[in-house]
């Protein structure tokens, strides 16, 4: 599914989410919920900063798959799957399990940059059997 469509579905599905952004593995924006470019840029920067900080906090800088930060004034969630990242902010006291589920559904719906399955080149018949 197209990233913009997946994000639009996410915003429609989850009433708790106030803003969301979808990024590729290099940090380029695939889709963003806000129409304000400054707000979109700020959310993107915060998402990348949160992922970098979470990687620093890991034992050996392992790849982050999920970050949840819940504060009294609201929450910030990031879900990463392969080379796709979806991040969202919510109001106070969100149902975090539900938000993470919605984000995971969204990130899985976004088509990856490269095709999922590539056909391996055919081996000559003689090499196939080992």
């Amino acid at each position: 599914m197209d990233a913009a469509k997946a994000l639009a579905e996410l915003m429609e599905l989850s009433s708790q989410i106030t803003a969301a952004v979808a990024l590729d593995g290099e940090g380029s924006v695939l889709a963003v919920s806000s129409e304000d470019p400054a707000a979109a840029a700020s959310l993107t920067a915060s998402t990348l900063e949160l992922v970098a900080a979470a990687e620093d906090l890991g034992a050996d800088g392992g790849e982050v798959t999920r970050v949840e930060v819940e504060l009294d004034e609201g929450a910030f969630f990031v879900v990463r799957e392969g080379d796709r990242i979806v991040a969202a902010t919510t109001g106070p006291k969100p149902t975090s399990g539900l938000v993470v589920y919605d984000l995971r559904t969204c990130v899985q719906a976004i088509e990856p940059a490269a095709p999922k399955r590539k056909r391996a080149p055919r081996k000559p018949k003689g090499e196939a059997a080992e």
């Binding site: 959310l43 915060s46 998402t47 900080a53 009294d72 004034e73 006291k93």
Partner: protein, 63 residues
């Protein structure tokens, strides 16, 4: 009069006990990170890691 004071004290004690047992238990702030290798970290408020993530979150919430 003495009965009234005793009743007031009992009411105060009951209110205190109710709030202690069933009242809100302070802030619910928390942060958690999951990694691709299956490990996870929970950060408690007051720790440097939590404060770092919280400041980024506050910036994101302002947008």
């Amino acid at each position: 009069m003495r009965k009234l004071v005793r009743l007031a004290l009992l009411v105060l004690l009951a209110v205190w006990a109710w709030r202690k047992l069933f009242g809100p238990s302070g802030s619910d702030e928390r942060a958690g990170i999951s990694y691709a290798d299956g490990s996870a970290v929970v950060l408690e408020p007051g720790t440097p890691g939590f404060e770092r993530l919280a400041s980024i979150t506050r910036a994101a919430l302002r947008t």
